[in-house]
Symmetry: C2
Subunit: 452 residues, 2 copies
């Protein structure tokens, strides 16, 4: 396969993972004298920051995904390989894809994070997280099925549990998710049901620390909490979840233990490193932090392995402030681009200074028309922040036709508050809805009794 | 539940099924003095004629679906009930939803058809049909996974089988599907792979009769066949499928028996009545045809049951020409509207003339820029027919924001030939791709060997 009779073969960079870190590294290596192989388990890049929009029926999966092959089709030095890397061998310089060894000169591992239940893996069944399109479709199914089941339920306590949504975790994902569900219930679905009044829906946002959006400035956390309250979200801070069962969440607030009757719990709390973290530790003696993230050198390489780099959510880079960089898209993008530049410099015999993350700020959307933006030198909130949020998210969507369609859908939903993608799909749908205990059927809504 | 102390209760119409027949009946009953309960297993109306666009990655599921509740939210006399009707009781005038009896004065059954393998149900595993969104996503998964597996395959014969797509059935769905796959392979994916040349893809369209699009005029069948050939589709008429296995299709052409090595077979051949047909036969002694469709009276009612109507694909209405009306959307729409009108007339004591279907023509799209349209008095083909096809399909999409998004996506794809929704999703994806026999990995494409 390798023609060793020719002169020096081009440098081969293998990138594992087509998220923000891996994709931005691959794009930055276009038109250079290296060959690139990008390996991913999925055939598309996913714009994770908008997953909650799929989970709440505002966008379709394809709106926030782009086929990796089409993003990289113009990069003639790049091969996309659909497959799962299950081992690496730093001595041979190969990664194992299925049973096959793929050789590399330089390896970039960008496999990201998965959601984590802090050791309580049995919670996952009752409280799905939001990392993949399948997760988002499962959340969407649960949210819309809860309203359907409530419409049929005549027992008041059960109906109340069906109309209670608990979001665990007050970071950007939790805030955006809780805001979207509240708007959905109070605005989008208002006219759709006959037996229930969806504006009675309770949305609870539980956060362990003393405020939502802990990475933001305190005054913006306050604005976010106020906006959420205005939408009808009950924000409960200093609240620790101690148990999750089929229809009950147990929380601890100070010394007080409380239970919440709910049929829908959504997890936006913790993440931990993807399984590649353990592989790297076993093969390179790399160290990791409590979340399983790999401790990297100032140039994002693994200690003792200058040609193996870790970027994005799998990396713990703490050389800048002593604290690890947050697991957000801008960090992964900058890290991917940095490693690409380092590879190019190294091939030219040049030295690259340590990685330095440029923090351009954080932002979160609360409901359809409000957001908070913290750019460090300026903090904005409300409608202007919302426009800014929109611009940034559309700007970073990879492909132009996605930008176009998402922009139109948002303009449309801005004026109509509609959410087009309210589909309950998946093989289990009937079972899930009809497994709800059937109670006596009321053909028309309680508010306006009409005889049959 | 029923307040029997008041004066005459409003007439209650129960509609089973939210497809074209049921939905158009419900819409036509808005603002009348009847109560309507529409029961469906799914929470959305599906625009089935465009399912093949989802199967080939051009549209997203939400683009061709609208939540039933939102379509009917303004119809205050209408309740939407998510559930499965598993029995009816004409004596009590009730339908059973789960364990619950829902009473009716008039019943409209519009549960449609499912695909049928003419008794060879074991073919379904190897040759999925196209009736639901899940079917379309499964087809999409198989089509795009085949290209991915071909990219990895080094055995020439296996690669050829992976790049061979067989569409069974030369009706509008089969023609549209085959045309779309050929365009996908020859245009959309052309630049995306490194080891395979997707323009070598074979697409075979198998039809038992002597021409494609049998319901159309013969000269339009010829135009369709020519357009398909131009796109690279191999049309094989007078071809009967006698067996389908994991990677081989056996066909009979006259006396000759041939086999086709393929990894992707798509079924667009036969349909049969939904299971409600059998329930109706058992409870009302209704008769059915070979496909299980219920024989209906000239007013679409069941003989002896003047308050039970069957509309759409489940009905066999043969009072007009002696032949049953075809199972297409316009028939279902007109039947639904007719029954709504009959109910209104009956409540006024007026007699309604027999149902009369007004055939406004048939149309099919072949590839991205060509179509055939047969309006009876005029036959058009090519670009003008394509524009007409586009207009009709967008016009009948139920909700305005769907129309808008689909129109933009088509305009976009007209200029770029892109297909945005090329996602391989579903829990089994990794397994399916990686279960392909792994053969030696070639990091860069055979056309341009580059050393690693």
């Amino acid at each position: 396969m390798v023609d060793s009779s020719s002169n020096t073969p081009p440098h081969h960079v293998v990138i594992v993972g087509g998220g923000f870190g891996g994709l931005y590294a691959a794009k930055a290596l276009a038109k250079t004298n290296v060959n690139v192989t990008l390996i991913d388990r999925r055939n598309f890049h996913l714009f994770q920051p908008l997953l909650y929009q799929v989970a709440t029926g505002a966008l379709s999966p394809a709106d926030i995904s782009s086929p990796l092959r089409s993003i990289l089709s113009k990069n003639k030095n790049t091969t996309v390989l659909l497959g799962e890397v299950n081992d690496i061998n730093p001595e041979d310089q190969t990664v194992m894809v299925g049973g096959e060894a793929v050789p590399y000169h330089t390896l970039i591992v960008a496999t990201g994070a998965k959601h984590s239940y802090f050791g309580k893996d049995n919670w996952e069944e009752f409280a799905p997280g939001l990392k993949t399109l399948e997760d988002a479709i499962e959340m969407r199914r649960r949210i819309f099925t809860a309203f359907e089941a409530a419409e049929k339920e005549t027992d008041a306590a059960k109906r109340r549990a069906l109309l209670t949504f608990v979001v665990v975790g007050g970071g950007p994902t939790g805030v955006e998710l809780a805001g979207a569900i509240a708007e959905l219930a109070r605005k989008t679905l208002k006219e759709d049901f006959r037996n229930i009044d969806t504006s009675e829906t309770r949305v609870l946002l539980l956060e362990g620390l003393d405020r939502v959006l802990p990475p933001f400035a305190p005054e913006l956390s306050q604005t976010a909490a106020d906006s959420l309250a205005e939408l009808g979200v009950e924000v409960q801070t200093k609240t620790l979840v101690t148990n999750i069962e089929d229809d009950i969440v147990t929380v601890k607030q100070g010394e007080e233990v409380k239970t919440i009757a709910t049929r829908t719990v959504l997890w936006a709390a913790g993440v931990s490193a993807s399984p590649m973290g353990k592989v790297l530790m076993a093969r390179t003696q790399a160290e990791c932090d409590r979340a399983g993230r790999i401790m990297v050198e100032p140039d994002l390489s693994i200690k003792g392995y200058p040609n193996i780099f870790v970027v994005g959510d799998l990396a713990n880079f703490c050389h800048q402030s002593g604290k690890p960089l947050p697991g957000v898209a801008p960090v992964a993008m900058q890290e991917g681009e940095y490693v690409a530049k380092l590879i190019k410099n190294r091939l030219l015999g040049e030295v690259t200074p340590s990685f330095n993350y440029v923090d351009r700020g954080s932002l979160a959307m609360i409901g359809q028309h409000s957001a908070v933006v913290d750019l460090g030198f300026i903090k904005i909130r409300g409608f202007l922040a919302w426009l800014f949020w929109l611009f940034i998210h559309i700007y970073f969507l990879i492909e132009f036709d996605n930008k176009l369609v998402v922009m139109i859908q948002w303009m449309w939903s801005y004026f109509t508050r509609s959410r087009r993608a309210r589909l309950i799909t998946g093989k289990e749908i009937i079972k899930h809805v009809l497994d709800e205990e059937q109670t006596s059927y009321k053909p028309l809504h309680a508010k306006q009794p009409i005889n049959v």
